[in-house]
């Protein structure tokens, strides 16, 4: 039995997160109407990422080479490391354009109840990186939730003997939100993290 080719594309697209059947249908017809080259580029990018994506040997960001474009960029400040949980967090911070240092991706966060122990994360690789290089500052940008917080505390502890400046990203209120609707924990964290003007 030959499956309708549009139907097949719709089914494939629903495998993506957040894509329901209706959205998939809309995307399928959009792709159908795309110039052939554009459609092929999308397909090729998917194949490329599956065939060539790997972790950077230095920072564990996703790359297609041995070291990622950030680690091999000589204009980046290699003495600053921003520690994040996932490669997608690197993209998010890069979009701000503010940080000029390098990253270290842990590939997760500590979670005792899920069996995620320190050895399952790239924490040891971080330690080796710090010992082997003249690192000035480590910025802990793990998520502002319980797992991210525990991970930041654990890393702070193991870095203590190395005497390296360690900082934690500030907690704040989401831009565009109203103080009235912030819960007490978010609000107290924002107050604790206040700064002089």
């Amino acid at each position: 039995m030959t499956q309708n080719i549009i139907e097949n594309l719709v089914n494939q697209l629903t495998k993506l997160p957040g894509i329901g059947r209706k959205t998939a249908q809309r995307l399928a017809f959009f792709i159908l109407a795309l110039p052939a080259n554009d459609a092929k580029e999308i397909a090729a990018a998917i194949v490329d990422v599956k065939d060539n994506a790997r972790f950077c040997s230095n920072c564990f960001n996703i790359t297609d080479a041995d070291t990622c474009s950030i680690c091999s960029d000589s204009s980046r400040d290699r003495n600053k490391i921003c520690v994040v949980e996932e490669p997608s967090n690197v993209l998010a911070i890069e979009r701000t354009g503010i940080f000029k240092g390098t990253y270290h991706v842990l590939l997760g966060a500590l979670s005792p109840l899920d069996g995620i122990t320190p050895d399952k994360l790239k924490i040891n690789a971080l330690l080796i990186r710090i010992k082997d290089n003249p690192i000035e500052e480590v910025i802990l940008a793990t998520n502002p939730n319980t797992k991210g917080e525990m991970t930041a505390k654990y890393i702070t502890e193991i870095l203590k003997p190395l005497n390296i400046k360690t900082s934690r990203i500030a907690y704040g209120l989401p831009i565009g939100s109203d103080i009235e609707f912030a819960d007490e924990v978010t609000l107290s964290k924002a107050l604790e993290g206040r700064r002089d003007l």
Partner: protein
């Protein structure tokens, strides 16, 4: 159908791109897993209310038997966030949370265990390093859930375990075995008569009066040893975590 109850967040697991599955110990439904849509987005209305230990008033949508009802509202009653900020304290608390996850059955109401956990968190907020608070929780939890070790009579002959200075708790039997019945090469935990008396008296205490009890450290350590060995034996095969793996000084 919209349900309302009060619950304490035990754990949250990532589900899909921005969603979570949050496990609560609730007052009316026991262990309850709910689906939470997009809490990981910055503008989520759930804010910090679904972080572990948060005690909240919650509403969820779903039929009585629905596998994964959806959380529609959560209003913090008590955030217990100071506890979350204490790394080593949090590891100890997670042992308590894990007991709930491991031994309780989904949707089986246990109002007394709910109250026990809530009281434990409130007590720990005043002194997160008080070992007695943790021990009391574990002993009471085992009692209510029907997993208590047998420490008052011999697990073989049923004889009273009194009148000797030392006793042997056999982890594989979950009980003390008297000197007459001892045989075989099972692992035993030594426990003194005075520590046993201390253990028995714990059942008469309430969390509210626990601060008045001054337990000698060695006695506390003996009973902790028995209870922890017992818990790790009866939960074998689970992914019960080893606190030591999370300490940087190991």
């Amino acid at each position: 159908m919209l349900n309302r109850t009060e619950g304490i967040v035990l754990k949250s697991s990532i589900f899909g791109e921005a969603d979570l599955i949050v496990t609560y110990l609730t007052k009316d439904f026991g262990l309850l897993r709910v689906f939470v849509k997009s809490p990981r987005k910055t503008k989520s209305r759930f804010g910090s209310s679904i972080e572990p230990l948060t005690y909240a008033k919650i509403s969820f949508l779903g039929k009585e038997q629905a596998n994964l009802p959806r959380l529609t509202q959560s209003d913090i009653i008590k955030p217990f966030h100071k506890l979350r900020e204490d790394y080593s304290g949090m590891l100890n608390i997670m042992e308590l949370l894990e007991m709930n996850l491991h031994f309780l059955i989904d949707r089986e109401p246990h109002p007394s265990i709910f109250r026990l956990l809530l009281t434990a968190l409130s007590k720990l907020e005043s002194d997160i390093n008080n070992g007695l608070y943790y021990l009391y929780y574990k002993i009471k939890f085992l009692e209510i859930s029907g997993y208590s070790p047998r420490l008052e009579i011999c697990g073989r002959c049923g004889g009273l375990t009194e009148g000797r200075r030392h006793h042997n708790f056999y982890v594989s039997h979950g009980s003390i075995i008297c000197h007459e019945c001892i045989g075989g090469d099972d692992r035993a935990v030594k426990v003194t008569e005075s520590a046993l008396k201390f253990y028995k008296s714990i059942f008469n205490w309430k969390y509210s009066t626990i601060d008045r009890i001054k337990a000698p450290a060695h006695m506390l350590a003996e009973i902790q040893n028995v209870i922890n060995s017992h818990i790790s034996f009866i939960s074998s095969g689970s992914k019960s975590f080893d606190k030591r793996l999370f300490l940087s000084s190991r």
